[in-house]
Structure formats: C-alpha cells, structure tokens
Amino acid sequence: MKSFLALLFVLIISFSAQSQDLLGQLENQQSHVSKPVTAMFKGTRIFNGQSIELRGQGNLDVIISHRFGRLNSGGYNFFGLDDSNVRLGLEYAVLDRLTLGFGRNSVNKVYDGFVKGKLLEQKTIGSPLSIVWMSDMSIYTLKRPELNMTFQRRLRYVHQVLLARKFSPGLSLQLMPSLVHHNLVESESDPNNLAALGLGGRVALSKRVSLTGEYYYRFGKDLSGHNSLGIGVDIETGGHVFQLHFTNSNEMTPSGFIPSTQGNFFDGDIHFGFNIVRSFTLKHDY
C-alpha cells in the first residue's frame, strides 16, 4: 500500500509538471536569465559632469555646448544671452567599455581630455549598480603675462568614480566621489587638492523627455565660490540628444565647475545652457 501511495504521488507530480502551460515553462526559464540594465541616462553627460553612460564601440559623439551669461544680468544683457561661452567636444568609444574624449572650452581657453571606462554593469540579477572610472586632464592656455606660466602650472586633473543605479525605467541616481587637483590655484587659501561628492539623477517624464539634476558638494573649510548645482531637461530624437539646463556654473570641464563655480544659484546667478549631442556610427557591429 505504501508503494502504491508513493507511486500515486510521483504520478501526480509528473502530471502537474506536464500540465503546466507551455508558455509558463518558457517564461519561468527566462525569468532566471540576467540582463544588463541599460540607458540610465540619455547622454554621456548629466549636463556639466559625466554620466555613467558609455556609447557602443565605434560610436563618435560630437557635442556642442553653450553656457550663456547670468539670468539676473537683466534685460539690457538679454538675461545673459548676450554672453556665451562654448565647448566643442568629441567622444569616441574605442570599446564598449572604454571612451576617449577631447574638448576645447572658450572659458580660460582650456583644452580637456578624458578617459572613461566601465568597471561594473548593473544587471537584472546580480550587480545592483554600475561603476565607471573617469580621469580628466585639462590644460589652461589663457595668457597670463603677469605670471611665469610654465606648462606644469597650466595642468589640472580630476578623477571620479561614478556609481549609478537605475531603480526603475523612470528613475536613475548617480553618486560621483571626485578628486580635483590644480597644479596652480588662484590664491593661497584655495587648496591644490579638493575632494567633492557629486549627486546626479534622471527622472523620465516620457520615453524621450527626462528631467535631470546635478550637484557637487565640496569638502573643505572657507572655500571660495559655491557648490555647482543645476537642473535640466533631456530631449532625445534618435541620433540627437538635446540637453537644456539652468546651472550656476559657466565652466564645462570638471576641473572648472567643481572647484570654481562662482554663481550663487539662489541669488539668481543662473546660466542657461545647452548641449547638443549628435551620434555617428563609425564602425558597425557587422
């Protein structure tokens, strides 16, 4: 009788396994497959600083950025639109996980270059966040006849670790522990080395429009200037990303806007700005 019961039991189990809906079987299998979590941000920049995004291998982004003057400079100055500074940038994805970038800024006539590499990718099952390393070097080439400007004195460095997580299709948050080093600083009270912690985020308003925010907190006492702060909108139309934003920074390299943001956001020292990103595929996947 016992063996009969055991057999009946086996029978019921096997019957129920077979009667499971075929699609249910496939969906069950698929639910154990881990997938990379992609598209945390629309652009490779949140707007001033780097986002966790990297483009696929062979992709060249041309980025044209403008920052206008301060909104509170009044109607005579057309609320800042009379002044503008420009950064022209190129970013090339050498590998899926490695991007090299170059740029030229009109403010202080700065040339910048950076290396950005993905160390870890968020997965649906597994890693809860993505990690990207970014090292940036810039050369300040403004003529300063009053100073003995050697090449060394013109160099500035920034190293960042970007930690980001996409919590849902609509919300991504990013932390940016950063180290800034200036070989030469403006005054004795400014430190050569500055640590900062950035916080960035994206809230998707629709499939193609999202709201972004970026803030860098600087560690240190009696620092001159202000912490960089801004909000923006990303609009994506296929091959282009348009980023429109309001920030208290007028510089576009991390060695500029992290330590030397001069505007006080809450006094209205706000710059309207935009980045236009156009992607070109130089190398196809097949």
Binding site: L7, V10, Q18, L22, L26, G58, S168, G239, Y286
Partner: protein, 175 residues
C-alpha cells in the same frame, strides 16, 4: 492491487509519451524594416520555443533585449523608446500549430494563437513550413507585423527612419 499498480505504471508511461515536448533554446528571429532613410535589421539568437507534437500546442518567447543591431545606439532606442523592454521584456506567442505531420517529414503548417508584443495581445494566424531532419524539427516562417497594431509608436520626427510594418523571419530547431 497488482493489476491496479500495473495499470498506473502503464498510464504513467502513456502520459510521458503524450506529453512529449520538443524544445529550442536558441531560436533565430530577424526583423527587417525598409524605410526611406535607412534600412534597419536586427537579429536575435536567444528565442525560445516549446512544442508538443502530440497536441500541436506551442509557445514561443523572444527576449526583446537580445535583438542585436548594426548600430549600438539603435539597440538602446529600440529597447527604451519603441519596445519599452523593461516593462515588456518578451514578445510571446501561445497557441497551436496545425498541419505538422512528423511522419511525413515536411510541409506547410499554420500557427494559430495569441501574439503578445509590447504588452498588446492579438489573435493571429501565421503560415509557415516545417521539416524534420533526423531528430530535429525545423519550423520556419516569414510574416509581417504592423507596428501600430501593437501600439508601438513612431514619433513624426523619425517617421522616415522607420517603416510602419516590419518583416519578421523566424527559424527554430526543436529537439
């Protein structure tokens, strides 16, 4: 008692035979969209299928994020903007294939059932062919999908880039 046991064992074996399922873990799905500015092709080699030859019941599952494009940015836009693959990770078909005769070895068949893409379900009939090579059953079909029917929106700005209907090619080798 013994007879009952015997009967049960017999039933058990019968059911094993009845429930004989054929599987594929690496089915091939390609779509092709011909448009003014740019033709778009994407391939997926991770589609899954299970087919019950006895009853004709069948299920297909296509993971949307496994479609590979010529341009990496297209893949991102496909997933984020068109298919919303985080919300709707798979396209699935559930139904029955009529006309498969394993002994005949090859011929045409008709799949009838529910196709769910982008979270939208539709009753469809898809014609195709089958052929038997040794132990492997090959199912092939080419059919069209009208994007609008599955509420896949194309913004006017990129209208010229993407056709309103795409040609889908599938090939599954089931064992």
């Amino acid at each position: 008692m013994k007879r009952l046991l015997f009967l049960l064992i017999f039933l058990f074996h019968l059911m094993q035979a009845l429930g004989q399922q054929m599987n594929s873990q690496s089915g091939y799905v390609k779509f092709f969209s011909e448009a003014l500015v740019e033709d778009i092709t994407a391939e997926n080699k991770n589609a899954k299928a299970v087919f019950d030859a006895q009853s004709g019941e069948v299920a297909f599952l296509v993971p949307i994020s496994d479609f590979e494009f010529r341009k990496s940015l297209m893949k991102e836009h496909f997933n984020e903007n068109y298919m919303e693959s985080e919300k709707y990770p798979n396209a699935v078909f559930k139904g029955r294939i009529e006309g498969v005769d394993l002994e005949k070895g090859q011929g045409t068949a008709l799949a009838k059932g529910t196709f769910t893409i982008h979270g939208v379900s539709k009753e469809v009939e898809i014609p195709g062919t089958y052929s038997m090579k040794e132990d492997v059953l090959i199912l092939e079909s080419i059919f069209w999908i009208v994007l609008e029917e599955y509420e896949i929106e194309i913004p006017r700005l990129v209208f010229q880039n993407i056709a309103e209907k795409v040609e889908v090619t599938i090939k599954f080798e089931l064992k």
